[in-house]
């Protein structure tokens, strides 16, 4: 039954080229299919799109304002500093909060005969098709209006080019960064790298803070414009300010800035394509772990990490020990912990330095720091506590379908939640203690240790309660990829929204602490620690008690929501 085969006719001839639009269409199709039969997802998407549009319109007028007002001076400010901030946020926020939309997981293309070039352009094009990109693009077109009003149609045209290139830079940069970060966290040397990263960030704190406070103190527009001009020449600010340069009659500068942008984009794409390769082969490159030998003691003794030997050999003990192991062994959870440690130190120090109007003068050095107010310190501690607790907002999503083991064993909801809180706290409470110590030492106010630690513990406890509820009611599944920043299609809006809600509600639970800080004055410095700790523990336990009831009633439903769809 040999049929004569003519290659040209039956489609086995030369393959038709794959273009970027195929990736875009694929992404749209996958997104649409994800909405099928999931009303709440559509609702969230619409909500997110509406929100994005709202911000976009606001941003548009902000960026267009210098042009509408005919003000040359502020144009460069808005373009370089405003645009630079957007770019910076675009690069950093995914790492800290939102994760990267991996609708098109690079690993899925590993078996297809595609060149790296096709893949990178395709994935980049697909990444451009999203609500945030459209919203930011819309907002940044305000710059085009500014440039056109100030310098005519040519300036406007250059601005369009600049904004488009800048957006490309943002997308390529964030992809390259998360991709590199992901493979870094996957590697077995992660501990060392994390330590290095922390050290580098800590070292950066000094100079950044000095520059920031200096510019804030003077707060005169000339200096700010000077900073803006400098930022305008970095890749972060170059694309946005190109149009303004034309408007101000410096065509050569505009050309140079566009060149800077394009070279950076090319470099980022190259970097991304490098790390893409390792993302595509996934963990296979790491190979199976070498069989670790020498089990010490029986199975039960192995389950409990040595520092936790004091835990009872009970259900609670087993759950806690397993969670502790997971917070370190699961790359996704570990990434959260490391981020928390970095941001937890970084933000309070920045806020308290920037906001206190600190003067850095050569004679006194940092001695004038006493002006930081207890309320401001409490506020920044509230932020850290909330951020710590929000890590648990999708704690069951981390487990995925493995949670079935607990369902089958019939673990009561309260026990489950208490154990999870306990395990996370074993990591976080010492971390919060360290943060409190660092902050008071840097501020030069060792006496405030009670205040900071008390606020931290109270907020953290309140946040635990809130996020425990959220984790039971608002769980969603995470994709089973090796990228710890990846999340599912359509989950982006949901995730950001839920994170925001939980942060706001958690912050509200800390209001009593803030009120006390305002009302009680000096006495509060010493009452804050015991009261805050008691408040935190009490609220957390209450949360576990109430949410445990809910969990008991919807265990199978929770399991279904955290199980990834395949």
């Amino acid at each position: 039954m040999a049929v004569p085969v003519s290659p040209a006719v039956d489609g086995s001839g030369p393959a038709r080229p794959v273009r970027a639009r195929h990736f875009v269409r694929l992404k749209l199709r996958v997104t649409a299919n994800n909405f099928r039969g999931q009303g709440w997802r559509i609702a969230l998407f619409v909500f997110g799109a509406f929100f994005g549009l709202w911000f976009a319109v606001g941003g548009f007028f902000l960026f267009a304002a210098p042009g509408l007002a005919g003000n040359d001076q502020y144009a460069i400010l808005a373009a370089a500093l405003g645009g630079g901030l957007v770019a910076l946020g675009w690069l950093i926020l995914p790492l800290v909060f939102f994760g990267v939309d991996e609708t098109l997981d690079p690993a899925r293309f590993a078996l297809l005969p595609l060149t790296r070039r096709t893949l990178v352009t395709g994935l980049a094009a697909a990444a451009l098709v999203s609500v945030p990109t459209v919203a930011v693009l819309l907002a940044l077109f305000g710059l085009v209006v500014t440039a056109a009003l100030l310098g005519g149609w040519l300036a406007g045209l250059v601005a369009v080019l600049g904004v488009l290139s800048g957006l490309l830079l943002c997308v390529a940069g964030s992809r390259a960064l998360t991709s590199a970060f992901a493979s870094m966290l996957r590697s077995r040397r992660v501990r060392d790298l994390a330590a290095v990263l922390l050290a580098v960030l800590a070292a950066l704190l000094g100079p950044v803070q000095i520059a920031l406070t200096a510019s804030l103190r003077d707060a005169d527009w000339d200096r700010l414009a000077g900073v803006a001009r400098v930022v305008g020449w970095t890749p972060l600010g170059a694309p946005w300010s190109a149009g303004i340069e034309v408007a101000q009659g410096r065509a050569w500068a505009a050309l140079a800035k566009l060149l800077i942008t394009w070279v950076t984009v090319a470099g980022l794409l190259l970097w991304w394509s490098r790390s893409l390769e390792s993302a595509m082969v996934g963990t296979a490159t790491a190979g199976p772990a070498p069989a670790r030998r020498g089990p010490t003691g029986g199975a039960v003794a192995q389950l409990f990490p040595r520092p936790l030997g004091w835990l009872g050999r009970t259900r609670f003990g087993a759950l806690t020990a397993r969670e502790c192991r997971y917070w370190w062994r699961d790359a996704r959870r570990r990434a959260n912990l490391i981020t928390l440690a970095v941001v937890g130190v970084f933000v309070p120090v920045m806020v308290n330095f920037g906001g206190s109007g600190v003067a850095f003068d050569s004679e006194q050095g940092f001695s004038g720091l006493g002006s930081a107010s207890p309320v401001l310190v409490s506020l920044s501690m509230v932020f850290v506590g909330v951020l710590a607790a929000v890590t648990l907002a999708n704690q069951f999503g981390f487990d995925g379908s493995a949670y079935a083991a607990n369902v089958v064993a019939g673990i009561s909801g309260r026990l489950e939640l208490q154990a999870r809180m306990a395990a996370f706290s074993i990591y976080v409470v010492p971390m919060l203690g360290a943060i409190a110590v660092i902050v008071v030492l840097v501020l030069g106010e060792p006496g405030w240790i009670g205040l900071t630690l008390g606020s931290l513990l109270a907020t953290y406890g309140g946040g635990l309660a809130v996020n425990t509820f959220l984790s039971v009611l608002g769980a969603y599944s995470l994709p089973e990829t090796s990228n710890p920043f990846a999340m599912n299609t359509g989950a982006g809006v949901a995730r950001s929204f839920l994170t925001l809600v939980s942060m706001v509600v958690s912050a509200v639970t800390a209001v009593p602490m803030l009120v006390a800080a305002v009302l009680l004055g000096d006495a509060w410095h010493w009452l804050a620690l015991p009261v805050g700790a008691a408040y935190g523990v009490g609220v957390a336990l209450l949360g576990a008690y109430l949410a445990g009831d809910v969990l008991d009633r919807r265990m199978p439903e929770l399991l279904a929501t955290v199980t990834p769809r395949r």
Binding site: M1, G298, A404, A405, V408
Partner: protein, 254 residues
């Protein structure tokens, strides 16, 4: 009182996903001490049925009883008697084999000394002792099935529910799993497992049910269902398979 009850009794189990009916009213009685095979093609509703029977998926209607205890009304009692190995569900695979067993044992409220003893024995019998402290995520597919089985057996359940225990398992491991299950049934336990591998079912099972399109098509002892024919023939006839005529896919041959 449990002796009068079947090991597993399903009554009118129904599950709909959106508009699609996955399981359309399954009734099943699994006698105590039987080795029960649940046969069905892909997508017949085997996993859905078993998930509802063990408390992992809430049914839209119907009842599931384990030795007389309702899985959904009295889950604590029912789940104590149950050992489950789900398919397509991850284990807590960032633990080593021994750690995973210890976790499951303590989760079941067992005495730590007993957990240690049984875990060591299970790891030895299932030839997983060599893996040492390798994480389960780095295990091969066959090893994962074996450690899953060990987790289900650890607390000495009266009823063992296994979803596709022989899928992706090499012949050596499969023989080992068969032996262990056989011993378990001889010792008075009851096994329900799903499969679409005819030879395994014919070799092991005392009872068989064929599930297709969410309903039970044939049920009874192995001999009743076979009625003198090969099980595969009965299965294909019941399910309504089609055989290739040779006209289509001509381009496959050169």
């Amino acid at each position: 009182m449990t002796e009068e009850h079947p090991a597993l009794a399903l009554r009118g189990l129904v599950k709909r996903f959106d508009s699609k009916v996955a399981v359309a009213g399954v009734d099943l009685d699994v006698p105590t001490g039987s080795f029960y095979g649940l046969l069905g093609p892909n997508g017949a509703g085997k996993t859905t049925t078993l998930s509802m029977a063990v408390g992992l998926l809430r049914p839209d209607g119907g009842q599931a009883r384990v030795l007389g205890y309702d899985v959904w009304a009295d889950p604590v009692r029912a789940k104590q008697l149950l050992g489950v190995m789900p398919d397509g569900v991850r284990l807590f695979d960032r633990l080593s084999g021994a750690e995973l067993l210890a976790y499951h044992g303590l989760l079941r409220g067992m005495d730590p000394a007993v957990v240690d003893r049984r875990a060591a024995e299970l790891l030895d019998v299932l030839a997983l002792g060599d893996a040492g402290r390798t994480l389960v995520v780095d295990y091969s597919a066959g090893m994962k099935k074996k450690i899953g089985l060990a987790c289900a057996l650890l607390h000495g359940p009266r009823l063992l529910v296994l979803d596709e225990p022989f899928e992706a398992v090499d012949p050596v491991s499969a023989a080992l799993i068969r032996d262990i299950l056989h011993r378990y049934v001889t010792g008075g336990g009851t096994v329900v497992f799903s499969s679409h591998v005819m030879e395994v079912v014919e070799r092991l099972c005392s009872h068989v049910a064929i599930l297709a399109d969410g309903t039970i098509k044939r049920v009874g002892t192995l001999d009743e269902v076979r009625a003198g024919r090969a099980l595969e023939d009965v299965f294909v006839e019941v399910v309504g398979g089609r055989t290739a005529t040779g006209e289509e896919l001509a381009w496959l041959s050169r």
